[in-house]
């Protein structure tokens, strides 16, 4: 039984992290056509923010609770800074944003190395997270459960913002009919900025979850960015449900493949499966229909 539950639950937790990494990507890609390769570094920034919070507060449990909003803010502000300083000049050249943000990612990594050192820093699990519950023969770590709850909360928060707030309605309007939104007087520029802030902030929260797995590390973003993009590609752009399903499926499938083969082969096979999937659905799972020809 635990041959199934272990990869399933572990994969779900991995999927939860992928989801937090991918939400920002799918928002910014869907709304602005911007490919933000530095999103992985926002994960890293969130992880370091969690570490720094823990250093300041000391009490691991309290620090974790504080770290979540702090990481959201730190990563979100970094994202905002990126938008204001660089991205906004690049909206006409979406493919080029990909390369510019590759450069930003490199700079942020080196910055983290210089500030925090190349060796990762530990983030201590609070005692109330350090344990497990038996589920069908698998001792499910509380931390994985916490990660899933965190991702669901992030998703719920984002959905609520998109659905009920003015910002959210504006974001949805801009994603679907940018020109129309503009003519209706929606300040699409500031909507873009807020989207960037939200998306980057969510990655920061994801960073907290990663810090709980393996501490901080200047290069931790690079390990998550490609899987996160595969999630976006497979899930389709502009709709949250596609991203959610894709993140969960990629997480679980990778975990099962890891179980059956090895960690390395699992990565290779997951990539192959995404390419095969794109043969069936080149637009991903779901997509917002627009009538533009290009």
């Amino acid at each position: 039984m635990d041959a199934l539950t272990t990869p399933f639950l572990t994969g779900t937790a991995t999927g939860a992290i992928l989801l937090m990494a991918a939400l920002g990507l799918t928002l910014t890609f869907g709304q602005m056509g911007v490919i933000n390769m530095a999103n992985g570094e926002f994960l890293m920034a969130g992880a370091y923010a969690a570490y720094a919070t823990q250093q300041l507060i000391g009490n691991a449990g309290l620090a974790l609770v504080v770290a979540i909003p702090v990481s959201f803010l730190v990563a979100g502000l970094l994202g905002l800074l990126l938008e204001v300083s660089i991205i906004r000049w690049m909206y006409q050249r979406p493919l080029d944003t990909l390369l510019v943000t590759v450069g930003v990612a490199l700079v942020l990594q080196q910055l983290a190395k210089d500030v925090f050192g190349a060796q990762g820093d530990p983030v201590v699990l609070p005692s109330w997270l350090n344990g497990n519950i038996p589920v069908f023969g698998y001792n499910w770590p509380f931390r994985q459960l916490f990660t899933i709850v965190l991702a669901l909360a992030a998703l719920g928060g984002l959905s609520a913002v998109l659905k009920y707030s003015t910002f959210g309605r504006r974001i949805r309007a801009t994603v679907q009919y940018r020109d129309l939104a503009e003519t209706l007087g929606i300040p699409t520029r500031s909507v873009d900025r807020i989207t960037f802030f939200l998306g980057s902030g969510l990655a920061g929260v994801g960073g907290v979850a990663i810090a709980l797995i393996s501490g901080t590390n200047p290069t931790l973003g690079t390990t998550y960015i490609i899987p996160a993009f595969l999630v976006v590609v497979a899930g389709g752009v502009g709709q949250l449900k596609g991203t959610v399903i894709a993140a969960w499926v990629v997480g679980v499938v990778t975990a099962f493949l890891t179980d059956w083969t090895s960690g390395s082969m699992a990565q290779v096979l997951t990539f192959a499966l995404v390419v095969v999937f794109l043969q069936v659905r080149p637009q991903g799972l779901f997509t917002v229909r627009t009538r533009s020809l290009a």
Binding site: F29, G33, I35, I86, W89, M90, R93, P94, L95, D96, L98, L99, V100, V102, G103, V104, A105, L106, V107, Q109, Q110, K113, D114, T222, I226, F229, L230, V233, S262, S264, M265, Q267, V268, F271, A272, V274, V275, L278, Q279, P282, L293, A294
Partner: protein
């Protein structure tokens, strides 16, 4: 009717002919200059160490020339050229490993990590002709299959870029995971000879450099011909308005596939010459980071210019070697800053500065002036 047509033809083509002739001359003269520097000046002036490094830069430049074709001219941001570079590099390295092992011998690392038996698919690489064939056929086959799968499904733009980068990640991971067959993280190294020539012989080293530089020149000439051919025009058309090309009766996927496969073969040949020059090929030469480095050179030099990608790649290679000697930690900042500054402010790379430089020269202020110049010259 016929007379007017004839007039139309002459008026239509007289001016460009002069201008194009100039362009033709200019490009070939530029390639010849590069050839002079690489094939005559460098071997007689640089120390063997610097020359070996230049040989490596040339092998990256070969991949870069292909990227220029696929990305600059074809609009496909190929972020996983390391894969094809690696296919060529590993093919060559496997042959050299088997040469080093001697007839009937097996590569040393297989005893180290495995049970001392060689997987069957290594065997053909004992043959030099097969190795040379595989250096071209392997990347061609892989890029064709992958390109066909991706391009026919109209996956393009960012999706295409991300998938190719994911491919590079997957490829490097696969190499690391198959340590018993491919040497894993360490890669393949400790070669002794290449096609029977002692790799440590200074003459052989110089010869390898010359092969690398000469191949680069050949690739430049090939791309030059590509660019001026009808295919070159069609490729630009496809880059700029893919759907429009479809409504002229072409399948844009096929047009792009040709450039993608050509770029893959160029990268593979680059990798094949890299392995003997560097004496090693490992996953870190072919992974996503290595692939991004190849893009960096192309972006710096000018993605759609003829010489831009090659010279950019050589410059980035040189920068990596020398800047990292002086500012070890600064190198990453420099690399990151290069992407940001070049892509933001000079999207067409340093090559886009060339017309401005040229316009400072007297008599080349405008197309008209160029025309006059050309007519006088002709």
């Amino acid at each position: 009717m016929t007379t007017t047509t004839a007039t139309a033809t002459t008026t239509a083509s007289s001016r460009p002919k002069a201008a194009q002739l100039l362009g033709t001359y200019g490009s070939l003269v530029a390639i010849a200059l590069v050839a002079l520097v690489l094939l005559v000046w460098a071997p007689n002036s640089l120390s063997p160490f610097r020359l070996g490094n230049l040989g490596k830069y040339c092998s990256w430049a070969m991949a870069a020339v292909g990227i220029g074709l696929a990305w600059g001219r074809g609009g496909m941001l190929v972020m996983g050229q390391g894969v094809f570079f690696g296919l060529g590099g590993y093919t060559m390295a496997m042959h050299m490993k088997l040469e080093a092992a001697g007839p009937g011998g097996i590569p040393d690392f297989m005893t180290l990590y495995g049970d001392g038996t060689m997987p069957g698919w290594w065997a053909p690489f004992r043959s030099a002709p097969f190795t040379l064939f595989a250096i071209i056929a392997l990347p061609a086959a892989v890029s064709f299959l992958l390109g066909y799968a991706i391009l026919k499904r109209r996956v393009k733009g960012a999706y295409f870029a991300i998938l190719t980068q994911a491919l590079a990640v997957a490829f490097a991971t696969l190499l690391i995971a198959t340590i018993k067959q491919t040497g894993g993280f360490n890669g393949l190294n400790t070669f002794s000879t290449v096609f029977g020539h002692n790799l440590y012989d200074p003459g052989v080293k110089k010869g390898l450099y010359l092969v690398s530089a000469a191949l680069l020149i050949v690739f430049l000439v090939i791309v030059w011909q590509f660019n001026r051919s009808r295919y070159g025009e069609l490729l630009i058309a496809t880059r700029d308005a893919e759907e429009r090309v479809r409504f002229l009766g072409y399948d844009p996927a096929n047009v792009k596939l040709v450039a993608f496969v050509a770029a893959a073969i160029m990268a593979s040949i680059g990798g094949a010459i890299f392995a003997p020059i560097a004496g090693i090929i490992s996953p870190s030469n072919v992974d996503a980071a290595a692939s991004v480095m190849m893009i960096a050179g192309v972006a710096l030099g000018g993605r759609s210019a003829l010489l831009g990608p090659a010279l950019g790649a050589i410059a980035v290679g040189f920068g990596q070697s020398t800047l990292s000697e002086r500012f070890p930690t600064g190198w990453t900042y420099f690399q990151g800053g290069l992407f940001i500054v070049v892509i933001m402010f000079l999207p067409a790379g340093l090559a886009s500065l060339w017309p401005k430089v040229k316009s400072l020269l007297p008599g080349r202020m405008s197309p008209q002036a160029a025309l006059v110049d050309g007519e006088n010259g002709a």
